[in-house]
């Protein structure tokens, strides 16, 4: 699994992606980790199939005792079906995830890890000396869904928003925004259900100072590509399946 340091100051952001050992038919996912002091949070730790790769990759950078928090933006299996395994490996950790999904996410196994439900309005999480903000992104695509914003690193973890369906060996970064739109279009038209929710999300995130936007699938947005994405997304009609 590829691992890259995305931000390195008093705290660090890492991306773990493009796992060559994952079974072919499961969607490729990007996992992220924020490390500050002796604590860390893994953002959308991924599915059960990539658990061993994730564990091995994380332990290249921090010891197991330092994995103190998990965050799941929503309930999907590619986001958090590995929970039952993390539950055994880091039993004293805390899981932050939408409160609405508690009864569903517990189906993946959560006997030891403390379940910390995030209310619809959002909230904050302190990791070491860093404060991360949970930004509501409901119905984007999941009915209870959050992004994570780091005002110091100016990074927005956007979950499924900004996702693209791409081959396993594609670059981690967008190289040409226009051609990248083709890889994002179907995903957003079909998986995102509501134009009203889309505008609500855009109104929230346009107020944030963002230098890097990190989706859970596809490529990382940097600098002006973020505003380009917002404009492209605003113009895109979503919820396309109702026309079928």
């Amino acid at each position: 699994m590829e691992a890259k340091l995305l931000f390195d100051d008093k705290h660090q952001w890492y991306v773990f992606a493009r796992d060559p050992t994952k079974p072919d038919k499961i969607i490729d996912t990007n996992q992220y980790m924020v490390v500050s002091g002796n604590e860390s949070v893994i953002l959308d730790p991924g599915g059960i199939e990539i658990f061993s790769s994730m564990l091995s990759t994380i332990l290249k950078f921090i010891p197991i005792e330092q994995v103190t928090h998990l965050f799941a933006s929503h309930q999907d299996p590619d986001i958090i079906s590995s929970l039952g395994m993390w539950d055994q490996v880091i039993p004293n950790a805390k899981l932050y995830t939408p409160n609405l999904w508690e009864g569903f996410i517990r189906h993946f196994g959560c006997e030891n890890i403390e379940f910390c439900g995030i209310e619809d309005g959002g909230g904050q999480l302190t990791i070491g000396d860093s404060v991360l903000h949970f930004i509501p992104a409901h119905y984007m695509h999941s009915s209870a869904n959050f992004n994570v914003y780091d005002p110091v690193a100016k990074i927005l973890f956007s979950g499924d928003i900004g996702a693209a369906l791409e081959p396993q060996d594609s670059s981690l970064y967008i190289e040409d925004f226009d051609s990248h739109c083709d890889k994002m279009r179907f995903f957003h038209q079909r998986w995102m259900p509501s134009n009203a929710a889309k505008m609500n999300w855009l109104n929230r995130v346009r107020k944030l100072d963002i230098e890097m936007m990190l989706p859970q699938h596809g490529r990382i947005f940097r600098g002006k590509e973020i505003e380009q994405f917002f404009d492209w997304f605003e113009a895109l009609e979503v919820g396309s399946a109702i026309n079928s």
Binding site: I48, S52, L55, S56, L59, M85, Q88, V89
Partner: protein, 200 residues
């Protein structure tokens, strides 16, 4: 009867070993650079450090072998971790099947349980073979590091016979010593993780 180690502990141990060896491989790259520098110095110094030519070639070869071995260990560790996770999932499944058997008081799942147990046994045997292989590769890399430190001593000895290159050769010997020691510490760390698993 082959011993069965906790799949949870096995997965974590294998990942910890991979982590240690990843860090060791980063240092091995620095060691390799030191080896290339030593070859360049030996080449420049010509006949004045003739005794070092063979040693520096051996050193360069050793550094490359160390990188390769560290990467191999990393791959084996990942395999072991994946095997442990598979055993873990099978154990959970067996537990659920036994529950189902108990709740329904029937033997319908007996064949399935038998098949899974056979697979588990096979996995466990493979796991034990791989973990022993890992141990022996860690031993090997430790021996490399001992050889590397002998090279550092030779550099120091040779340095005393040159004037112009004494400082450079001394610095190189120091670097070789420091890198070798760091790699050794990571290997010891990795071995300790395995020992703790094998003693569990």
């Amino acid at each position: 009867m082959v011993k069965e180690y906790s799949p949870v502990k096995s997965a974590v141990t294998a990942s910890q070993v991979a982590g240690e060896l990843y860090r060791a491989s980063l240092i091995a790259r620095q060691l390799s650079l030191a080896a290339k520098n030593s070859q360049a110095v030996v080449h420049r110094a010509g006949s004045r450090v003739a005794g070092l030519k063979v040693i520096s070639e051996y050193f360069a070869d050793l550094a490359l072998k160390t990188i390769k071995l560290a990467e191999d260990i990393n791959t084996i560790s990942l395999d072991i971790s994946q095997m442990a996770v598979e055993r873990w999932r099978l154990n959970t499944l067996i537990g659920h099947l036994f529950d189902s058997q108990e709740k329904n008081a029937n033997d319908n799942v007996e064949q399935i349980v038998h098949d899974i147990q056979t697979h588990q046994l096979e996995l466990n045997n493979r796991f034990n073979i791989e973990i022993r292989k890992l141990e022996s590769q860690l031993e090997e890399i430790q021996q490399y590091m001992q050889a590397s430190r002998v090279i550092a001593v030779s550099f120091r000895l040779e340095a005393t016979q040159t004037d112009e290159y004494q400082g450079i050769l001394d610095d190189m010997a120091d670097n070789i010593d420091v890198f070798s020691e760091k790699i050794k510490q990571h290997v010891i760390g990795a071995k300790n993780y395995i020992d703790r698993l094998l003693q569990s």
